[in-house]
Amino acid sequence: MLRDQGRPFDNTGVMSDGSKILIADDAPTVTLLLTRALESAGYDVTVVDDGVAAYEAGVNGDFDLALLDHLMPGMLGAEVLQKWNEEGVLFNTIVLSGMDDDDLVIQLLELGAVDFIRKPFNIKELLVRVRLQLPVTRPAR
């Protein structure tokens, strides 16, 4: 049905390694795109669409990286980040957001976000950033 133009999607050059990534965003268009992109790159993706679920997933799950939106129902991304810090979660967090607020960027970076991606995003670039923030050595599972 779809005429494939034959370009392999994953061109980050990394073999799929089964890293677990948490995506927290309430817009279905965004989560769909991200899921498809990350799964094609070989990652194991979990999606949540509100802040409370994101917090719980981060604490209870076993993730290597989180992509976190700021404006979500339930709990804001900043709050989720802060609570994750308190719980001492081990993974890095990349924040995605459409809000053009410099103060917010600074706040989130100070809260420990390792990277900040604004919407609209470039999937290729996002994949590279994801790869960079994943732990190099993974603990035995």
Binding site: L2, Q5, F9, P28, T29, L32, L33, P120, F121, N122
Partner: protein, 388 residues
């Protein structure tokens, strides 16, 4: 006195009839609306899935999608996706748009309709996917009396990015209400650096034109600031001395984004401006350059009579490389407002709480103790907290 009751009976029957008819109509409308929404929801999910798949695989489909292009929900979803991706995915979507001949279809719809609703919808879509072929349409719609159309048209022109069109938008801004001019200015920002020469030219011309609206000038300056093109800097620095306070405010604001250390002397003079807004903006702008020349003037600005100026000066000092020391010095200033401004910044920055922590652990320095003493003293000022 009591007239023939016949007309009353007629009125009664009419009222009763109307109420029944309206009730039935409402019920029918709700029912139809609901079915439509349900169906729309299903289609929306379908489109999200299909388009997402398409974008992710960078592959453009063939026949199936042609049938979808008349569905407004499909267009909505398509444009939702367009708004969140760049790079390869966007290219894929653009290919799809080309294949569906969306620009042509939407343009034809735009020209062929008289309904405001449709005009706005098609125009807003066209603005998202603007290319040179659409420029004439946008120029035409720019002159439309409906504000929303103007804004979409301006956006379209900005997407295309032809610097010649900037002056057209500026013309529109002149004849419009302030808030419309401000929104149009917002759209000019999308042009980016290519708009800077036209804007600067506008600024320079207006210096010699006594009839130019200062509010409009301020908008233009604001845009220049947001675009951040350094070519504008000399003009902005000279605007710091404009007789119009609004222009000075705008210039100081703009320099915080479009300035270099070249502008520091001008900003330092602006710290003494009679209008508090200019002083506040100047302080804010100086905070972006850690320039040694600004330390003393900012320290003095802590004693300014206007609250915002003091706060901005304190904030500027807080981000300045040598500023924190100056703030700590200000804690023992004899001006209570200066003390308060310094303390509030140090509190926000965490300096006070860090001093507190060190105090508790026993590693407090003399400076820490001074900070804590100052914050205690501030806490004990007038219990009502009211400060004139």
């Amino acid at each position: 006195m009591i007239t023939n009751p016949e007309p009353l009976l007629v009125a009664l029957l009419a009222a009763a009839l109307i109420s029944v008819v309206l009730s039935v109509l409402l019920f029918v409308i709700k029912y139809a609306h609901r079915r439509r929404l349900r169906a729309a929801g299903v289609r929306r999910a379908l489109y999200i899935g299909a388009l997402g798949e398409m974008a992710a695989r960078n592959s453009v489909p063939t026949a199936e999608i042609q049938g979808w292009r008349d569905d407004p929900i499909f267009l909505e979803v398509l444009f939702d996706f367009l708004a969140i991706v760049t790079g390869d995915e966007r290219e894929t979507l653009e290919e799809l748009i080309d294949q569906l001949e969306l620009r042509d279809r939407l343009s034809r719809e735009l020209r062929g309709t008289r309904r405001r609703n449709t005009k706005l919808r098609t125009l807003s879509y066209l603005a998202e996917i603007a290319d040179e072929s659409l420029q004439p349409i946008f120029v035409e719609c720019l002159a439309d009396p409906v504000t929303e159309e103007k804004l979409h048209a301006a956006r379209g022109l900005a997407q295309i990015g032809d610097p010649e069109t900037v002056s057209l938008i500026l013309d529109q801004m002149e004849s419009e209400e302030t808030w419309v001019a401000a929104r149009l200015a917002d759209e000019i920002i999308e042009f980016g650096a290519v708009a800077a020469p036209a804007l600067v030219k506008y600024l320079l011309l207006s210096e010699h034109d006594p009839n130019r609206d200062p509010e409009l000038l301020r908008q233009v300056i604001r845009v220049i600031g947001l675009i951040g093109d350094l070519r504008a800097e000399p003009a902005l620095i000279s605007m710091l001395e404009s007789p119009e306070p609004l222009v000075r405010v705008g210039a100081a604001s703009a320099l915080s984004r479009a300035g270099t250390p070249e502008s520091v002397p001008g900003l330092i003079s602006a710290l003494a401006d009679p209008d508090w807004r200019v002083r506040a903006r100047a302080a804010d702008a100086l905070g972006t350059f850690s320039d040694g020349r600004a330390l003393e003037p900012l320290g003095r600005a802590l004693r300014d009579e206007a609250w915002w100026v003091r706060q901005d000066a304190a904030k500027a000092l807080a981000t300045h490389l040598g500023g924190e020391r100056r703030l700590i010095e200000a804690l023992s200033d004899d001006d209570p407002f200066a003390r308060d401004a310094a303390l509030s910044q140090l509190g926000i920055r965490g300096t006070v709480s860090e001093a507190q922590q060190r105090f508790e652990v026993g590693t407090a320095t003399g400076q820490d103790r001074m900070i804590l003493a100052a914050s205690e003293a501030a806490r004990q000022t007038d219990d009502a907290g009211a400060v004139a």
